[in-house]
């Protein structure tokens, strides 16, 4: 299991891996927003958490379609399907590795982009925390979408379309928790706890669904 985790991390870091691309995409998306809405700092700081969340959501969808497709193309998926190791566990570990390689850098880059958005320290901290607990959920949901689309030759866009609606709850509670930290009357903890609950829930459902889809997609 650790071997699989390390292998996927290595693949993401090596030439052509997706780790760098994800962060870059995140930065670019967030950086483009002020050009569209104007350089008004007050406005930017108000919409900052939402922009960061949307950027992170799109960026974490970016490499998802390759999660199983790359394994399928070179035949590795066949061997993974044959092992004594439950497929659910294999999928879970692959998701964790994918998140560590693409999701975690987004969380780390978020404060920097928060400064660009003129967000306050509290808002930056809260957004970072919600991204930390929320982005794994996107990966888990995305894994099931990636597994469904694994046999399709051009599944990349389809994965995004399949996954985005499913990720809406994550977005809702992530952004509302981040806002609650800044605006006093709204409580911060309940949306954060719900976000954690969603992540844990999808940590179970996502790999289960993905494993099921991979088994039936094999041909």
């Amino acid at each position: 299991m650790i071997a699989l985790f390390l292998r996927d991390l290595k693949l993401a870091m090596r030439a052509g891996g997706g780790a760098l691309i994800g962060v870059l995409f995140f930065m670019t998306v967030v950086a483009v927003v002020p050009f569209a809405v104007g350089p008004d700092l007050n406005l930017l700081s108000r919409i900052g958490p939402a922009i960061l969340w949307i950027g992170a959501l799109l960026a974490s969808l970016l490499g998802l379609d390759r999660l199983f497709q790359a394994e399928r193309e070179d035949g590795s998926l066949d061997l993974m399907l044959m092992q004594e190791m439950p497929l659910v566990l294999t999928v879970l570990v692959k998701c964790l590795a994918h998140w560590a390689a693409t999701g975690l850098p987004l969380v780390i880059a978020a404060p920097l982009l928060g400064l660009f958005m003129n967000m306050s320290e509290i808002a930056i901290g809260a957004t970072m925390l919600t991204l930390l607990v929320g982005t794994p959920a996107i990966t888990f949901i995305g894994a099931s979408g990636a597994a469904v689309a694994v046999t399709l030759p051009r599944g990349g866009l389809l994965v995004s379309i399949l996954v985005l609606p499913l990720a809406i709850p994550v977005l809702i509670f992530g952004v509302s928790a981040a806002y609650a930290a800044v605006h006093d009357p709204a409580p911060f903890l309940p949306p954060l706890l719900i976000l954690i609950a969603i992540t844990l829930f999808f940590a179970v459902i996502g790999p289960l669904a993905a494993a099921l889809a991979l088994r039936s997609a094999s041909d």
């Binding site: 030439a15 052509g16 760098l20 691309i21 950086a31 002020p34 350089p39």
Partner: protein, 253 residues
Amino acid sequence: MSENSLAIRKFSDLANPTRFLALAGRVLPWFAGLTVLLFAIGLYLSFTTEGDYQQGETVRIMYVHVPAAWLSMMCYSVMALSALGTLVWRHPLADVAVRAAAPIGASFTFLALVTGSLWGKPMWGTWWVWDARLTSVFVLFLMYLGLIALNRAMDEPGKAAKVSAVLILVGFVNIPIIKFSVEWWNTLHQPASVLRLGGSAIDPEFLAPLLVMAVAFTMLFFTLHIAAMRNEIWRRRVTSMRRQAARSAGREV
């Protein structure tokens, strides 16, 4: 026509990788030494000259910030020239120069952004404003990162060279347009608060350390660039030797 081709042949003769390695080996210690010396003088001057009566000590950030920002643009120009060299003259070293310059340029740009925002916090009360000049530097930074990502994504250097050369030139042509549109965009939205640095003439008191630092940074760039080019050539040789090893393995079975 024939004259032209002769000149090119000589030019590429000079750029033979092996001879470049020999030259780099001889030049590098001198460049490095000169860089250290200039930095010693520049930093000494930067910390001994008077602070600005308005900005206080923070004005010293300028001595790092301005040269870094200048280098970030010069580095892109060097890359654009090299890209031209790759596409037009198929110069063997041009592509090496591009590859080596991109991370250095990104570092200088990053340094300019960081020092700028450290300077901005006490001056403007915020880490970042979407001022026209800052924004164009940030866009430049994104372009550098994109180029690095492109270089990393292609495992065949020969193919990557042409593609990234095209991209660099498109970017280079685009820079004035970006600069212009960003300025237009910003002034359209908030004409009053556009912050300009160095709008007034710079006092000679500041000018001396600034110039020395600028030369020091330029030397630093060339030192790093030559060293990085040397590493890139070595890296390619190692790669081709490894491919050679792979080909010759298992022959005797």
